[in-house]
Subunit: 227 residues, 2 copies
Amino acid sequence: MQSAVRFELTALTSQLAEMCGMAADAIDQATHALLLADREMAQAVIAGYENASAMRSTTEETTFHLLAAQPPLAADLRSMVNAIRITADAERMGALSVQVAEIACRHHPYHAVPAEVGGRVAELSALAVALARADQEALLSRERRLTALLRRDTGAVGELYRQLLSVLIDPRWRYGVAAGVDVALLSRLYERFADHAVQIAGRVDFEIDGDPSRANPAEITASRLDL
Amino acid sequence: MQSAVRFELTALTSQLAEMCGMAADAIDQATHALLLADREMAQAVIAGYENASAMRSTTEETTFHLLAAQPPLAADLRSMVNAIRITADAERMGALSVQVAEIACRHHPYHAVPAEVGGRVAELSALAVALARADQEALLSRERRLTALLRRDTGAVGELYRQLLSVLIDPRWRYGVAAGVDVALLSRLYERFADHAVQIAGRVDFEIDGDPSRANPAEITASRLDL
């Protein structure tokens, strides 16, 4: 009986890792669409969200089935509850990517982001992609080294986010309020994406050692504190 | 055995309802602090977040305990899985209130919001408060009437959010980019708060009738689509 559970839990973990991989691809493509004013790619990201939603339903069904099947062992129960939370985070990361793509679409054929800040947006996106990929690997390998790495990178995200906001509110900003508002909201989307990625890392740690305080790492609180 | 489960589930529902009530109070007070540049009230909201976190831990423990105790009935299992998700939504609503309070603090002794848009921010906040209170009631009463009401109100939130953004990007906006960026991010915080409140309503519906499609109402997707 328990080996069947173990088998299903392994399948569930693969599904969660795949969701993180899909989120990484989605934010990467959305950023390309944004910075190159590539409407087709933006539309592909928006259409691809359906796959992420379908994947979420699959993982939710698997989890529900596992929970219903038998009184689980404490460690397995932890994995199942965690899976519910990780699914929600990964799905949210996909939705945030869609929002980036939508901003690209709305501005087409123009660029939503002035060239002056394009480099910083690209950096922010690269970090977001790396975080989602690290989640994917951490889920599969259960290596604490990876989750530690994730926490370090989130500091870099916060730093870039603050830099971008300070560029916008600098009196030398010469692209007007509308562009400023869009870039501020875009930066916030990347920052949120990164925050969800870090939450997933915290949940993987929690599963590794069962210490619930790790499921809400201090870094999340820190990132929550700077809007 | 099952009556003990029922008793614990009722207690869990009360805890979830209380979390929604706390979120309603928090966003209400944060808005007061914001519009009146009242630093003490802002600090009270920030400090009060600890109670919300503690409440989240309590509901998580209760859920975990319920899941671990016995192979649950399908309907009860649905309630337990839902409780995990509602806890996360309600906790997020509290965190968003803290972010509003932090913006108020950062601008003190000045006002973060130009008087011209204060009225719209107050309206947005009133809707957010009403949504969280409706969640609280819907959880306790299991009345579908309330969740339907919630879905109607979320349209009003989206409308106000769009209005606010259009005021900011209007060439007649005369408060500069920094104020525009702050008001845009503030509006987004209220819109997110409302979205989580609607998600909770969807989950309550899901519990009432077990139809999973209701747990992700179309309205959420609609609100996701307009940034």
